[in-house]
Amino acid sequence: MSLSQGVTETAINSKKTVNRKKIKKDKWVPYLFILPSFLIILGFLFYPIATVFYYSVQHYDVSAPYYNGFAGLENFKEIFTTDKMFIPSLINSLKWVVSEVGLQLVFGMILALLLNQTFKFRGLVRAVAFIPWAVSGVLASTMWSLMFNEHMGVLNDLLMKMGIINEPQAFLANTSTAFTAVIIAELWRGIPFFAITLLASLSSIPDELYEAARVDGASRWKSFIFVTLPQLKNTIVLTTLLRVVWEFNNVDLLFNLTGGGPAHSTTTLTMYIADLAVHGSNFGYGSALTVVSFGILLVFAILYLKLSRYEKE
């Protein structure tokens, strides 16, 4: 080996070492950047979730401190054997989720198809249609409770003027109408979510597909069934899955409009858990119920994605 060769090799080797060091350093810099987010998620998400699992196997009732301590699976045993509220509240949850997600999807689809057309002031109409989504839960609850009000509610006024009812109805105070009333209020708030996401997907469907369908003599309805729906499939699957989880866990509107009443007629599982915590101070049992509802949602999500063949053509 000549001297010049040796020098060149040494130079190359030292350059490689420098590069390796740089790569080594570059490797952990990104982690440094995501560290704050990771720490926040760890503190504000994983820790509370772990706490719920911990308390689910504890007796932790602040108003009955004598029995606080390790419970093992007793809380779960109570849920499935002696709790008279668990099954009715779960049934209410199912009714709530199916009606909400189903109706929101149908009306959201109709709204998205309408807003996808070209017409004057389309931007303004779109903005107005999405407003309910931006309204906070407490504000929406207050608004709807005033609208449903027996003495001064606009709904009673309209229905009486139209001759549909003869005397004012207390929609939220009647066990036969309360659930429907709350469903309507939540429907108003939830439709824009589907409309927004479906509209975004509708805009990305190539016009060529519709042109091809037209050439083949497909009607508007057939175009919708064989072009639009397959193209929207993934969006529909994902949005309905997200919405099911959200609606299952939804509590703000129920809590503020009816508090789960009258006589538990609007008590969903989540409302029941919230009531146990807020009024019952029984955090151990409430945590066990939360774990059960987490399990229900997890099983549903896995099955739903499998059965809907998400992202599979």
């Binding site: 740089k22 350093k25 810099v29 440094l32 950047f33 560290l35 704050p36 720490l39 926040i40 503190g43 602040v62 108003s63 009955a64 401190p65 004598y66 029995y67 009000n149 027996e150 003495h151 109805q169 207390a170 939220l172 105070a173 009647n174 066990t175 009816t258 508090g259 009443g261 009258p262 006589a263 538990h264 007629s265 009531d275 146990l276 807020v278 009024h279 019952g280 101070s281 029984n282 955090f283």
Partner: protein
């Protein structure tokens, strides 16, 4: 070059994390952790149990005066909605994030002291020069109901459940103000005029209704004790008889929306001119007087029991308590003594319309000029009045009322269960809680 970039990145990260963390920790904790320098103000946090347009300004004014008199102390006011105040304090105790001082109902003291959340005030109180002016009965009651017989709250106001009635409607109907329960039920019937959206009465079927219901039941029956030979008197035949009459009024003489009525909705019904009679306490005087003229409404005692005497719930007071987590017990106590001073108690109780516990205030002219306070004093000063004492010492007492009784009331009103089933379930829960309490005492020994 790279090192420079890295240094900048690390510094930026540290800054961001610093901001995030201080945001998370909060100003309060930072103050708590730093020992105040001489020139620095000490901040104490005060939680009010009943925020709203009537009461919040009263507290704010008092706090302004207190801060002027004590320039080294800064009081931060936090108002809690009446119906969720207890739950918020529960959560604060559970998480160890309690305020320094709070307005606390006497009935909350047993549970809070059991949870070791409050600071005993005996040593502070015994050294206080004005201690003899504070209602002795109320002080003794607060000691009696807690398991270790210590003083955890200094009562600044006393209350009484009464009936608010539309005196102008009674006059127009040529009806006498009811003095017996039969007259009460008859008046409700006569004053109902659905075509004009007028109802004789309103039931609080929503949050907090159970406490009022219990007071009505014992006011009717005249039963003196909550437990008799280990059995609860809740499902006594007299209470069954009363509730059958009481709940029968629903929808016929009361609005259908009563089933979900909370405090605000119930008061709004009376103040907006839809309700002839309302059962609440003298503390809602401010709300009524803002909405109605003084000649339109008045307070009357709950009718005498079937045994012929008034019944009042003992310990119907609200006090100020110091939480154990405070870093500033001295300043907190200073705030308590100020709120219980003649000047502050006079202003607070006069504005709200309740009974002061400071004897100096009881002699003031406004007391004599307040008919509703005169009514309350008439009941309290009647030698035959029975002071009924609910089992506040049971830490589950409020939970049972909130969960079993509130929802049970709705179930009876909607026809899902009978009055008997409702009262049996209530009594059963109380007896079970008493049994657990007795067991815990045995275990302590």
């Amino acid at each position: 070059m790279f090192r420079k970039k890295l240094t900048t990145s690390v510094l930026t990260l540290i800054m961001i994390m610093g901001l995030v963390l201080t945001g998370c920790i909060g100003e309060e904790s930072l103050i708590k952790e730093s020992s105040p320098k001489k020139a620095e103000k000490v901040k104490i946090v005060f939680w009010d149990d009943n925020t709203g347009p009537q009461r919040t300004p009263i507290w704010e004014k008092l706090i302004t005066i207190f801060e002027k008199e004590n320039p080294a102390i800064d009081v931060e006011y936090v108002g809690l909605p009446k119906d969720s105040a207890k739950a918020m304090l529960d959560a604060a105790i559970a998480s160890g994030e309690t305020p320094d001082v709070a307005s606390v109902y006497a009935s909350w003291l047993p549970e809070f002291s059991n949870r070791d959340a409050l600071l005993p005030l005996d040593s502070y109180f015994s050294k206080w020069s004005e201690k003899d002016k504070i209602n002795k009965g109320a002080i003794e009651f607060n000691k009696r109901i807690v398991s270790n017989q210590k003083l955890y709250g200094i009562p600044y106001t006393q209350n009484l459940d009464i009936l608010w009635v539309r005196s102008d409607w009674f006059k127009a109907a040529n009806l006498n103000i009811p003095e017996t329960w039969d007259e009460f039920f008859r008046s409700v019937e006569i004053l109902t005029d659905k075509s004009n959206n007028r109802y004789g009465y309103t039931i609080r079927g929503g949050a907090g209704g159970s406490f009022q219901l219990q007071r009505m039941m014992y006011a009717y029956s005249g039963i003196e004790t909550f437990f008799k030979d280990g059995k609860s008197t809740i499902n006594d035949p007299k209470h069954v008889e009363f509730l059958k009459k009481y709940f029968a009024m629903y929808q016929t003489y009361t609005p259908i929306s009563d089933i979900t009525n909370d405090y605000k909705a119930m008061i709004a019904g009376f103040d907006s001119g839809s309700i002839a009679m309302l059962q609440h306490n003298i503390g809602s005087f401010a709300e009524h007087s803002e909405a109605l003229d003084s000649n339109q409404f008045q307070a009357i005692p709950l009718p005498k029991s079937v045994e012929g005497h008034y019944v009042a719930e003992d310990g119907n007071t609200i006090g100020i308590s110091i939480f154990k987590g405070t870093k500033h017990p001295v300043e907190s106590w200073k705030f308590i003594t100020f709120i219980n001073s003649k000047k502050a108690q006079s202003f607070w109780n006069k504005s709200v319309g309740q009974i002061p516990t400071n004897s100096d205030v009881l002699n003031e002219d406004w007391i004599k000029a307040s008919p509703h306070i005169q009514i309350a004093q008439k009941v309290y000063n009647d030698p035959d009045t029975i002071l009924f004492e609910p089992p506040f010492y049971l830490s589950e007492y409020r939970t049972i009322l909130n969960t079993i009784v509130d929802t049970g009331t709705q179930s009876v009103l909607s026809g899902k269960i009978t009055v008997e089933e409702f009262l049996d379930k209530w009594a059963e829960a109380m007896e079970e809680s008493q049994r657990q309490y007795d067991e815990s005492l045995v275990n302590l020994r």
